[in-house]
C-alpha cells in the first residue's frame, strides 16, 4: 500500500469535504469562504483548460512540427502561425484591424458549418418529421393505430403552428392608434403560450432533477467520508 498515495487521497477527500461544506454554507448567506471556494474552482478550471489547450493543440500543431522537421515544419505552420499572431493585434485599439482577417476566417468557416448543419440536420428533417406524422403507411408499418397517430400528429402540428405564431411580432396601427397583431394570429399566439409553458416547465423540472442528483451525490460523499472516518477512529 502506497502510504503517500493514500495520504494524498485522504487529504484530497478532506479538502473536497471542506469545500462542499463551504458551498452548502451559502444557505446562511454570502461570506468570504464561499467566494474563496468559487475563486478556487474558477482558477483550477481555467488552469486545466489552458494546460489542455497547450497540450492538445498548441504543442502538437505549432511546436512539435518544428522540432521534428524544422524546414518542413515552418512551411507547415507558417500560415496558421501568421493568422494566430494577427489575432494578438486585437488587444490594441489602434491596430485591432490587423486581426480582422483571422476573425473573418473563423467566423466564415464557423458560420458555414453551423448553417449547413442546421439546414441539413435540423430544419429539413424536422419539417419532414412534422409532415410524416400523418403518413398512414408509416403508421401501419410501425403498428400504430391510424386514429391515434393522426390525433398525435394533429396535436404536434397544432402545437408547432401556435408556438410559431407566438413569435410573430408583426403589428399594424388600429383606428384607435394602438398597435395590434393580425386578428387571426392573436388567438393562435395565445394558445401557443400554453405549449411553450409546458415545454419550459419540462425543461425546468429537468434542471431541478439534475440539481437534486448533484446534491444527493455530495450528501452521499459526505456520509461515506464520515462513516469511513468513524470506522478508522
Amino acid at each position: 500500500m502506497n502510504l503517500s498515495a493514500d495520504w494524498l487521497n485522504f487529504t484530497m477527500m478532506l479538502v473536497s469535504a471542506m469545500l462542499t461544506l463551504i458551498i452548502f454554507s451559502y444557505i446562511f448567506g454570502d461570506h468570504f469562504l464561499f467566494h474563496l471556494a468559487v475563486a478556487l474552482f474558477i482558477g483550477v478550471s481555467a488552469a486545466i483548460g489552458c494546460l489542455t489547450i497547450y497540450h492538445s493543440v498548441l504543442y502538437p500543431a505549432l511546436i512539435q512540427p518544428i522540432i521534428q522537421d524544422p524546414i518542413r515544419g515552418w512551411i507547415t505552420i507558417a500560415i496558421p502561425l501568421l493568422l494566430s499572431c494577427l489575432l494578438f493585434f486585437k488587444l490594441s485599439q489602434r491596430w485591432s484591424f490587423m486581426g480582422n482577417p483571422s476573425l473573418a476566417i473563423m467566423a466564415g468557416v464557423g458560420a458555414a458549418t453551423v448553417v449547413g448543419g442546421a439546414i441539413k440536420g435540423t430544419l429539413f428533417p424536422q419539417i419532414g418529421a412534422s409532415i410524416t406524422q400523418f403518413d398512414l403507411q408509416a403508421m401501419k408499418a410501425a403498428s400504430v393505430n391510424p386514429i391515434v397517430g393522426l390525433i398525435e400528429g394533429g396535436v404536434i402540428l397544432f402545437g408547432t403552428i401556435t408556438t410559431l405564431a407566438y413569435f410573430h411580432f408583426g403589428a399594424h396601427l388600429t383606428s384607435e392608434g394602438k398597435l395590434q397583431r393580425t386578428s387571426w394570429i392573436e388567438p393562435l399566439s395565445w394558445i401557443g403560450k400554453f405549449f411553450i409553458a409546458v415545454a419550459l416547465g419540462w425543461i425546468f423540472s429537468g434542471i431541478l432533477r439534475a440539481g437534486y442528483i448533484a446534491f444527493l451525490e455530495r450528501v452521499r460523499f459526505m456520509i461515506d467520508l464520515i462513516l469511513d472516518l468513524l470506522r478508522v477512529i
Binding site: 489547450i53 492538445s56 502538437p60 453551423v114 448543419g117 428533417p125 424536422q126 429537468g206 432533477r209
Partner: protein, 601 residues
C-alpha cells in the same frame, strides 16, 4: 405695455419707436404723422428738420440747411426754389409755378399707379387707371397725349422728353441729359391712359390733365377729390387723392431704412403693402391618413423619449433565510434518510423505448470493437451524467469494447477519464488505459472541428492525450471515418452541443449507430430527433430515470439505482413543499383580500 409690431418682419418694438429695430422699416406710416407748423411748407428741408436722421446724404443736408435759411415764412405750396446742388431735371421744375408739384404729383401718381400694376420693365401705372376708369378713358388719354405739345417745354426733363413716339419740343436749351438718352422703364405708359377723364383742368391738376395747363394751383383739392370720386374708381382715386394731399404738404424725406435720405418715397405701409396671408392650399401637407398616423406615432415616441418615466417602486420581499433553511433542512433530511435507509423499495418497472433502442444498438458491438465515447459535459453535471451513462458503459465494458474517448470541452477529457475509472471501479471491471480504452483528448474548433473529425479522424487527432499513435493498433487500423466505428455514444448536458453533434453526424453515419446519453434538462430538445418517424439517432437515455431503467433491464446495480431511493424521496419532498407553499400562499392572499374588504366596508 403695448408693443408695436413691424408690418414687414412682424417683430415687436417699443410703442414709441419710429422705426423697427430689426429691419429698420418705418413703424409709423407717413399718413399718420401729425402735421406740424413746418409741414405746411413745401420745402424739402423743414421735413428733414422735423425728423433728423443721421444717415442723410450730405448734399441733401446742405440743401435743407439752405432752404431753412431762405424759405422762412414762405407758404406758397408746391414751389421749390432751385438749389444749386439739385440735378438739372429737378431744377427745371422750379421755373414753372406749380409745375414741380404737378410733376411730383405725376411722379407720385405714376409710381403709385405703378405699384398697383405689375412691377417690371414696363410699368403701366396709367394703364391701370385706364382699366378702372369709366367711359372715355382712352379718348381722354389720347387727347391728353395730343396736347403734349402745348405743355410748357421748359419744365420737362430729358428722360421724359425722350419717351418713344412722343414729339417733344426742342430741348436744345437743356443743359444736361440726365439719363443720357436712356428712357427709364417706368416712363413707358399706354397712351390710352391719358383718356382717363381728367381733361377738365379747372378741377383737375394741370399736370395730370395734360391739356391747357394752367398755373392754377390745385388748391381745390376737395373739388378735385370730388371729380376723382366721380370718374376714377377704386384705389386709383385714393392714390390720386394722396398725391394731391402730398402736394400741399411738405416733401417728406425718408429717414429710415435703405431709402433714407430720398424724397418722394411712397409709403409702403399700410396702404399699399398689404399683409398677405399665405395660401391655405399650401399649408396642409398632402399625406394619407396612414402616413399621418405614423407621423403622430413618431411624434409621440420622440416626445416620450425625453420624459422620465416614473419607476414603479417594486415590492421587495425579504431574503427569507428562514424559509431557505427550512427547505434545505427538509431536502437534506430526505436525502440522508434515503441514502442511509432506502425506504422506497423497488426499482423502476416501466420500459422506455429510447432505452430499449439503445440496448438494441449495443447488440452490434462485439469484443474489441471500437466504440467512440464523446464526453461533453461540465464538472458540475458529473453526478447526474454518471447515473445516466453507467448502465450503457458498464454493458460495453462487459462486452469488452474498445473505448475511444473524445471531448470538445477542455475539461471533458478529464471528465471522461474520471467516468471510466468510476465505472471500472463500481462495475468491478479490469479496464486499463491504452489497452482497453484511450483518450484522444480535446477536439478544438467546435462545429468545424467536429466536421473535420467526422470526415478524417486520423488527420484531425493523430495522437492521443498521452502522445501515442493509436491508429495503427488492431482495433483502430480500419478506422478511416466516423462511420467505421461500431457505435458512437454522445454524453452531454448542453442542448446546443447535442444539436451540433446530431447535425454534423447526420448523413455521415447510420442513425442506428448513434446513441445519446443526455441530462434530463435537455431531454425535450433531443426527443424530437429520436421520436420522429425517420429518427436521426438510434437510442436515447435521459436522466437518472433512463439510467435506472437501463440498469434494471440490464440487471446491473449502477449509480442510478444507488441514488434511486434517495432521489425518489427528495422529489416527493419537493412536491410536498411546492403544494404546501401553494396552499399557504393561497390562504394568506385569501385572508388578506377578505381583511381588505372588511376594512373597505
Amino acid at each position: 405695455m403695448e408693443t408695436r409690431f413691424c408690418p414687414f418682419c412682424g417683430q415687436p418694438n417699443q410703442p414709441d419707436a419710429q422705426e423697427c429695430e430689426f429691419c429698420h422699416a418705418r413703424l409709423i406710416p407717413l399718413g399718420e404723422i401729425e402735421k406740424g407748423p413746418e409741414s405746411e411748407t413745401s420745402s424739402v428741408v423743414p421735413s428733414i428738420e422735423q425728423e433728423p436722421q443721421p444717415e442723410i446724404p450730405e448734399w441733401l443736408r446742405d440743401l435743407r440747411d439752405l432752404k431753412l435759411d431762405e424759405t422762412e415764412g414762405e407758404i406758397d405750396e408746391g414751389i421749390i426754389e432751385p438749389v444749386e446742388d439739385l440735378p438739372e431735371w429737378l431744377k427745371s421744375r422750379d421755373d414753372q409755378k406749380g409745375s414741380i408739384s404737378l410733376e411730383s404729383s405725376e411722379t407720385l401718381l405714376s409710381d403709385s399707379l405703378k405699384n398697383e400694376s405689375i412691377i417690371g420693365t414696363e410699368a403701366m401705372p396709367i394703364e391701370s387707371a385706364a382699366i378702372t376708369s369709366d367711359g372715355h378713358t382712352e379718348n381722354s388719354i389720347s387727347s391728353s397725349s395730343s396736347n403734349e405739345d402745348s405743355l410748357p417745354d421748359a419744365d420737362f426733363p430729358d428722360w421724359l422728353k425722350a419717351m418713344p413716339g412722343k414729339e417733344w419740343e426742342d430741348d436744345s436749351d437743356k443743359e444736361e441729359d440726365f439719363f443720357g438718352g436712356v428712357v427709364p422703364p417706368f416712363v413707358d405708359f399706354d397712351e390710352s391712359l391719358l383718356d382717363i377723364g381728367l381733361s377738365d383742368s379747372s378741377i383737375v391738376p394741370e399736370e395730370i390733365a395734360g391739356e391747357g395747363v394752367s398755373t392754377s394751383t390745385p388748391s381745390s383739392t376737395q373739388e378735385t377729390g370730388e371729380v376723382l370720386e366721380k370718374e376714377i374708381p377704386g384705389g386709383l382715386e385714393d392714390l390720386l387723392a394722396k398725391s394731391m394731399h402730398l402736394e400741399t404738404e411738405e416733401k417728406r424725406i425718408e429717414v429710415a431704412g435703405p431709402l433714407a435720405g430720398l424724397s418722394d418715397i411712397l409709403p409702403v405701409e399700410p396702404l399699399i403693402a398689404e399683409e398677405k396671408k399665405g395660401f391655405d392650399i399650401f399649408s396642409n401637407l398632402l399625406i394619407t391618413e396612414k402616413q399621418r398616423q405614423h407621423a403622430e406615432l413618431f411624434e409621440q415616441l420622440i416626445a416620450e423619449e425625453g420624459k422620465t418615466k416614473p419607476i414603479k417602486s417594486a415590492v421587495t420581499e425579504g431574503s427569507s433565510p428562514g424559509l431557505r433553511i427550512f427547505i434545505f433542512v427538509i431536502i437534506l433530511a430526505a436525502s440522508i434518510f434515503g441514502v442511509l435507509f432506502n425506504p422506497l423499495p423497488g426499482k423502476p418497472s416501466e420500459i422506455s423505448v429510447g432505452v430499449f433502442d439503445a440496448m438494441q444498438a449495443l447488440t452490434k458491438v462485439s469484443a474489441h470493437s471500437p466504440v467512440l465515447l464523446i464526453v461533453d459535459y461540465e464538472a458540475g453535471d458529473f453526478a447526474e451524467m454518471q447515473t445516466v451513462g453507467f448502465g450503457l458503459i458498464d454493458q460495453l465494458m462487459v462486452k469488452g469494447a474498445y473505448l475511444v474517448l473524445l471531448s470538445t470541452n477542455p475539461l471533458g477529457a478529464l471528465q471522461g477519464d474520471r467516468l471510466i475509472r468510476q465505472i471500472n471501479l463500481r462495475g468491478n471491471h479490469d479496464y486499463e488505459e491504452q489497452t482497453d480504452w484511450v483518450n484522444l483528448g480535446y477536439l478544438p474548433g467546435s462545429s468545424a472541428g467536429i466536421q473535420q473529425f467526422i470526415q478524417s479522424p486520423r488527420i484531425t487527432l493523430p495522437l492521443t492525450s498521452h502522445n501515442q499513435n493509436i491508429w495503427a493498433t488492431k482495433e483502430m487500423k480500419n478506422i478511416q471515418k466516423i462511420g467505421d466505428f461500431a457505435l458512437v455514444v454522445v454524453m452531454t448536458e448542453n442542448a446546443s452541443q447535442a444539436r451540433t453533434w446530431i447535425e454534423q453526424l447526420n448523413g455521415n453515419i447510420t442513425p442506428n449507430q448513434v446513441v445519446f446519453l443526455v441530462s434530463s434538462q435537455i431531454e425535450p430538445v433531443v426527443e424530437p430527433y429520436y421520436a420522429s418517424i425517420s429518427p436521426q439517432i438510434g437510442g436515447l437515455v435521459a436522466g437518472i430515470n433512463g439510467g435506472a431503467i437501463y440498469e434494471t433491464q440490464a440487471g446491473r446495480n449502477g449509480m442510478a439505482l444507488l441514488y434511486w431511493d434517495a432521489y425518489g424521496l427528495i422529489v416527493s419532498s419537493s412536491v410536498f413543499l411546492i403544494l404546501f407553499g401553494i396552499l399557504v400562499n393561497t390562504i394568506g392572499k385569501f385572508r388578506q383580500s377578505s381583511s381588505k374588504k372588511a376594512e373597505g366596508k
